[in-house]
């Protein structure tokens, strides 16, 4: 109630008038009432009423927050966070080496950035993740839907069909091996059509469309509450040309990063971005570094760099808060993103393979 007038989200003109009239706290405003307010400041009664309703809403929100209810700021103890993290799912990538390196797969509520030269497999991994996020829970997935924002036009539906067919086949093998009731039931709804229908595709042609789409994402995610993955394929492409004002670019990118973090947290979704590589020309040599500059490096929580070594594709974990740096090889097969030496495909091994990759969920903890 002792909130200062200057901190209320009123229109700036109104705030200036209130300050000129000598109002200091929200309590004073509420005590004056709409008629008194309109006479003192010289605004209409309706405007005064609107302003007071806004103030009341804000103070109510404040009170709820200090009482420890859910609001925009939440307090947790580390133990609560630990339990929440352990219960959270990961989105597997079907490449066990990559999943192990990431600590189970692509983590929900975090931003993962994939950097690499053209042709190394970034879009392939994004398409693989868009399919893998939909794997039902009984097979070790998060049973979510995916939003795919494409800025470069590299999304190929036929390729997604191939990847999805391989994934469904993989799950069918497990179901046959383990013969459990819920596996077979899940398989009924986990088909090619349902996978494709739950990938929501947006094609953004320039950075304004990308910004507009990210502003509209929270609304979209509230309507489609099962979305657990947001992929932005090519965050660098629209920002790398036609930008004379680099400070504007940095500001827009920072705003974008903040909104994505909010989206990832509020909707418990994983955000995956792909970035291009650029050459940094040093004193004696030039190195390939991720594009968009140093300030963008802070946006992502986890950073993966894909590169070539002769003809072998490698993935390096460049930045991660919980896993150590490592480099692993991977393959792109007709079925999608895979390990270099796929483990023996025996029915029994399939079942145990999928589960140990992620930390056990609360319900499945062995006593």
């Amino acid at each position: 109630m002792q909130r200062e007038v200057g901190s209320l989200p009123l229109a700036p003109g109104l705030r200036a008038r209130l300050a000129a009239a000598g109002f200091q706290t929200a309590q004073e405003l509420l005590e004056t009432g709409p008629c008194g307010l309109s006479k003192e400041i010289g605004i209409s009664k309706e405007e005064a009423l609107e302003a007071l309703q806004l103030v009341r809403q804000e103070c109510h929100g404040d009170a709820a927050r200090t009482a420890g209810g859910s609001g925009t700021t939440r307090k947790f103890t580390a133990l609560e966070l630990l339990e929440e993290e352990q219960a959270q799912g990961f989105i597997i990538t079907f490449c066990s080496a990559l999943d192990n390196m990431l600590g189970g797969g692509v983590q929900l509520t975090k931003i993962t950035e994939i950097c690499g030269a053209p042709g190394v497999g970034k879009t392939q991994l994004c398409m693989q993740l868009a399919v893998d996020v939909q794997i039902p829970e009984c097979f070790g997935g998060v049973a979510g839907e995916a939003v795919f924002i494409d800025t470069e036009g590299s999304f190929m539906v036929d390729r997604v069909v191939d990847i999805a067919a391989a994934c469904v086949h993989h799950c069918q093998l497990i179901a046959e091996a383990q013969q459990e009731e819920d596996h077979l039931k899940a398989l009924e709804t986990f088909s090619l059509e349902s996978i494709l229908s739950h990938i929501y595709y947006f094609r953004c042609r320039d950075y304004i469309e990308l910004l507009a789409q990210v502003y509209l994402l929270p609304e979209f995610l509230s309507e489609h509450s099962k979305v657990r993955l947001v992929v932005i394929d090519g965050i660098a492409f629209p920002f790398r040309h036609d930008f004379e004002d680099l400070s504007l670019r940095t500001r827009l990118l920072n705003g974008l990063a903040q909104q994505l973090i909010i989206i990832a947290n509020d909707h418990k979704a994983a955000v995956v971005l792909t970035n291009q590589m650029t050459t940094r020309i040093g004193q004696s040599q030039s190195t390939l570094v991720p594009a968009l500059g140093e300030s963008w490096g802070h946006a992502a929580t986890v950073r993966l760099i894909f590169h070539w070594d002769n003809s072998q594709r490698l993935a390096t974990l460049y930045k991660s808060p919980s896993q150590k740096e490592a480099t692993i090889p991977y393959h792109i097969t007709p079925h999608g993103f895979r390990d270099v030496q796929p483990p023996a495909v025996t029915p029994n091994a399939e079942g145990t393979e999928m589960n140990p990759r992620k930390r056990p969920r609360r319900e499945e903890e062995k006593q």
């Binding site: 989200p9 929501y200 042609r205 507009a212 500001r251 650029t278």
Partner: protein, 284 residues
């Protein structure tokens, strides 16, 4: 989309006038401002400004389609998804031919046959659909003055003697191939930007640019300061326009590139032009 005037984003008249006074007329200007700046220029409260932001975003944002809808649309007309090159092995490797709706790059050392391939594809594109063509016109942007009309007729006459049995048919085919000789980067870019209307009026089904590398290497010496940034600027603008045209009209776009030597001990790599991986980041 970005240059869309705020008037058409369904904002109220007085709000548009107020924003006009601050030089904010397009959606682009509006979305580039932060929330606090927007509050200042519109004079509205925080929550109102957020609603305005959503309104303007809705005017600019792309429409959603599910992957399933995309697949259905493709499977409705599978034959129109590729332009067959009539080389059986190449078609097999490309899963049908040169794909429609995306950019294809052809690269080689000089003398291997890029221009010949492009000329042959232009003939193929003018053929009717029953013969594996696209039944449309071709826009051929030639930067090296390597296009030869006589060679075009020779290829057509020898490859499809049954179809091109009269001079009349040959002239009809040549009338469908529109050649533009552009010798500078600027004119190439201008030509690409003006293609949209030509595609609709001339019923174009194939765009060929032969070659991108020659104009760029002529004008941009990458050892000079600032040229690298300008070069990639030019290339990405051209590339995004071409991608838009390819996707919008579902036509194939073919670009040719040259080979350059990378001065390490590896083999010669292609001039990395249409996908500029190098860009100076020092200016950040």
């Amino acid at each position: 989309m970005a240059a869309k005037k705020l008037r058409r984003a369904q904002l109220s008249q007085e709000l548009c006038e107020r924003l006009n006074r601050c030089q904010i007329t397009t959606c682009k200007d509006f979305l580039c401002l932060s929330l606090l700046e927007l509050m200042k220029v519109t004079g509205q409260s925080y929550y109102e400004v957020q609603k305005l932001l959503c309104k303007v975003s809705r005017a600019c944002a792309p429409t959603m389609q599910t992957a399933y809808e995309m697949k259905l649309r493709k499977s409705v007309n599978p034959s129109s998804a590729f332009l067959s090159t009539t080389l059986y092995c190449l078609d097999r490797v490309l899963h049908g031919g040169v794909p429609c709706g995306s950019l294809t790059e052809i690269t080689s050392p000089p003398g291997c046959g890029k221009t010949q391939f492009c000329i042959m594809l232009s003939v193929l594109a003018t053929l009717p659909v029953s013969m594996g063509g696209l039944d449309g016109s071709v826009i051929y942007i030639d930067t090296e003055s390597a296009f030869s009309a006589e060679r075009l007729i020779e290829i057509a006459g020898n490859k499809f003697p049954a179809f091109f049995d009269s001079d009349e048919k040959l002239f009809c085919m040549t009338r469908n191939i529109h050649l533009y000789r552009e010798l500078t980067c600027c004119s190439v870019l201008k030509r690409i930007m003006s293609l949209e209307e030509e595609i609709i009026s001339k019923k174009v089904k194939l765009i060929i640019i032969d070659s991108v590398a020659s104009v760029v290497r002529k004008e941009f010496d990458t050892k000079l300061q600032g040229n690298l940034a300008e070069r990639s600027n030019f290339l990405t603008r051209g590339a995004s326009m071409l991608k838009y045209l390819a996707e919008e009209f579902s036509i194939p776009v073919i670009l040719t590139n040259q080979i350059t030597t990378s001065l390490s001990n590896g083999p010669a790599i292609q001039a990395d032009l249409v996908s500029p991986a190098d860009d100076l980041s020092l200016s950040e």
